[in-house]
């Protein structure tokens, strides 16, 4: 194994040899290796956030016809560092009556839940934290720990707005977990394994080609799972004070944001791993480091799409969001599972490319039919514009009298 083909694994093997040569037993050497590996990966992820924040602010700035950060360093590249210094030295206010353990555990848990997703993702053919046989289920389960973190934040900070925000956020997250889990069944079915390494290796045509409907549902649901625009109504900064994190300050508040930015990036590389072929690309099998490059290029393309999604869509209303989930995505994902299972089984004798085309056509038919049905449903249920009394900021109702009918 040469250094240039696979530098990361080369260093790992070298370090293992070093530990063995100073007389450590294999058990301890593995454990120490694990600790160092986990530290490097997790710390790398956390420092990566600094870059992500710059990237996103710059891009969002461009989308909104602004410059974004552009004073500190080349293209404003050092701006997040300055922000980090500032947030590190801000006072950490602990309000009265908080539940100390819950209050302090919540920001830690919300970052840890995202970081743990890095443990099972294959970044290249030879570079991954660990290959557990239930990888894709692990990703979903760890996301559930983030919800516990949100509940801890909302309840622990002894504030009714925080509590309401937390419950709303959790209701949103668990709702969108349903289509997320069900559409994750499709790659498992096509691969015959839950291990993410196997799922990447099995994608001879990428699964987005085989099952675009499942990929679309998975993408929308994972954007909603990150809890950012247009699904960010639990913490809509421009409309309400904040959500579950209203009582937090300084770095504890910052940790929620670190978790959010990291989750957006993590969601995009999970999408890449599951549906866009992960590290696969020309030559990546022979030269693993090339796979790493492909992986990050694909991830940044999806991340770019995610930021575009954020920057160009207006925020959902909560009833619209719940309707989108329960009345569109969930039934659709169940139908997709059934159709793919049936079609793939009926054409079991066909060649691979024929099955790919058949599945693709089946998926597209589902999407078209669903689109028609949704259009019909929306037409019949949309209320007439102007049928209700609407709150307009006119001089008459600037001072709202009780019972005047001008309420939102």
């Amino acid at each position: 194994m040469s250094f240039w083909r696979d530098p990361i694994n080369f260093i790992i093997e070298w370090a293992k040899g070093l530990l063995a040569s100073i007389g450590w037993g294999p058990g301890w050497a593995t454990t120490v290796g694990f600790v160092i590996g986990a530290f490097v990966l997790a710390a790398g992820a956390m420092f990566f956030v600094v870059f992500l924040i710059w990237y996103e602010r710059k891009l969002i700035g461009r989308l909104q016809d602004r410059f974004g950060p552009n004073r500190l360093g080349p293209w404003g590249l050092f701006q997040p560092l300055a922000d980090m210094l500032k947030i590190f030295t801000k006072e950490l206010i602990t309000p009265n009556g908080v539940d100390w353990v819950a209050y302090n555990l919540a920001p830690i848990l919300s970052v840890a839940a995202v970081l743990m997703m890095w443990a099972v993702t294959p970044f290249s053919k030879t570079f991954f934290g660990v290959n557990i046989s239930v990888g894709i289920l692990f990703l979903i389960a760890v996301g559930g720990l983030g919800e516990v973190g949100i509940i801890l934040a909302g309840w622990g900070s002894n504030n009714k707005y925080a509590l309401v925000g937390a419950l709303r956020a959790v209701a949103q997250l668990i709702s969108y977990e349903v289509p997320f889990v069900i559409s994750a069944l499709v790659p498992v079915m096509l691969t015959g394994s839950m291990s993410l390494v196997d799922i990447v290796e099995a994608q001879t045509p990428w699964y987005i080609v085989v099952a675009p409907a499942a990929a679309l549902i998975f993408f929308i649901a994972s954007v909603a799972e990150t809890g950012r625009a247009p699904f960010d109504l639990a913490e809509a900064e421009s409309e309400i004070v904040a959500g579950y994190n209203v009582e937090y300050s300084g770095l504890k508040f910052g940790m929620f944001f670190v978790g959010e930015f990291l989750h957006a990036f993590t969601a995009s590389f999970i999408f890449v791993t599951v549906f866009l072929g992960g590290w696969r690309g020309p030559g990546a099998d022979q030269i693993p480091v090339l796979g790493l490059v492909y992986f990050f290029i694909k991830t940044f393309i999806v991340y770019f799409a995610l930021i575009l999604f954020r920057g160009t869509n207006p925020r959902f209303r909560i009833d619209q969001m719940m309707e989108l989930n329960w009345k569109v995505l969930t039934p659709l994902s169940l139908v997709v599972i059934m159709v793919i299972a049936l079609v793939d089984r009926l054409f079991v004798g066909a060649a691979d490319w024929q099955r790919t085309i058949i599945l693709l056509v089946a998926n597209l038919v589902i999407l078209v039919v669903a689109e028609r049905l949704i259009r019909r449903g929306v037409k019949t249920t949309r209320p007439e514009v102007g049928s209700r009394e609407r709150p307009i900021a006119s001089p008459d109702n600037l001072f709202i009298q009780p019972g005047s009918g001008a309420k939102g």
């Binding site: 058990g27 454990t31 819950a102 557990i132 046989s133 239930v134 289920l137 692990f138 979903i140 389960a141 760890v142 996301g143 559930g144 720990l145 919800e147 516990v148 509940i151 801890l152 309840w155 509590l163 419950l167 959790v170 668990i174 977990e177 015959g192 839950m194």
Partner: protein, 173 residues
């Protein structure tokens, strides 16, 4: 004592302690949070038994769904939140005595079993054969009846719970 045994002891102690706190906490919310801790400990115990699938399912179903459902219910039922007084019945020592006696009986009974001291060795890596499990679930010679009955049970739970929980709303309309 091997490393795995140390891990087991720590996890078991933490799990049992949180279990005690579930039944001993005064605030209902603390009780629910300790329950999450217990469930996590049980998940780690599953992982030490190399049942990776069930460890993850434990986190997914119990922590991700059931405990959140319990917490939502706590938010819906008001008096539990401000009730700071005792949460146990007056003659609580009787159940305590019963529990201790039952534990003694169970431990004594188990100790007479010949395989009680059997060692659990590390299994080969691919032994948790999920494909075989999945095949058995839909195999008519295997467990297809429990599989379909499970879906009917879930359907019944869904319909029943929605009917019960939303009943008053319907009367009001």
């Amino acid at each position: 004592m091997s490393g795995l045994q140390v891990v087991f002891l720590i996890v078991a102690v933490v799990t049992l302690f949180s279990g005690v706190m579930v039944v001993a906490s005064r605030k209902m919310m603390h009780s629910a949070l300790w329950l999450i801790m217990t469930l996590l400990g049980v998940a780690i115990l599953f992982a030490t038994l190399q049942a990776g699938f069930f460890a993850i399912v434990q986190v997914l179903v119990y922590i991700g769904a059931i405990s959140i459902l319990i917490i939502f219910t706590l938010m819906l039922t008001r008096r539990v939140m401000d009730e700071e007084t005792t949460q146990v019945i007056k003659g609580w020592w009787l159940p305590a005595l019963m529990a201790v006696i039952l534990f003694g009986l169970l431990a004594g009974l188990l100790a007479t079993w010949e395989d009680f001291q059997g060692m659990l060795n590390e299994l080969p890596a691919d032994v948790e054969n999920l494909a075989a499990f999945g095949t058995a679930l839909v195999n008519p010679a295997g467990y297809v009846i429990p599989f379909e009955v499970a879906s009917i049970l879930l359907l019944a739970a869904l319909v029943g719970a929605i009917y019960i929980a939303m009943e008053r709303k319907e009367k009001a309309e």
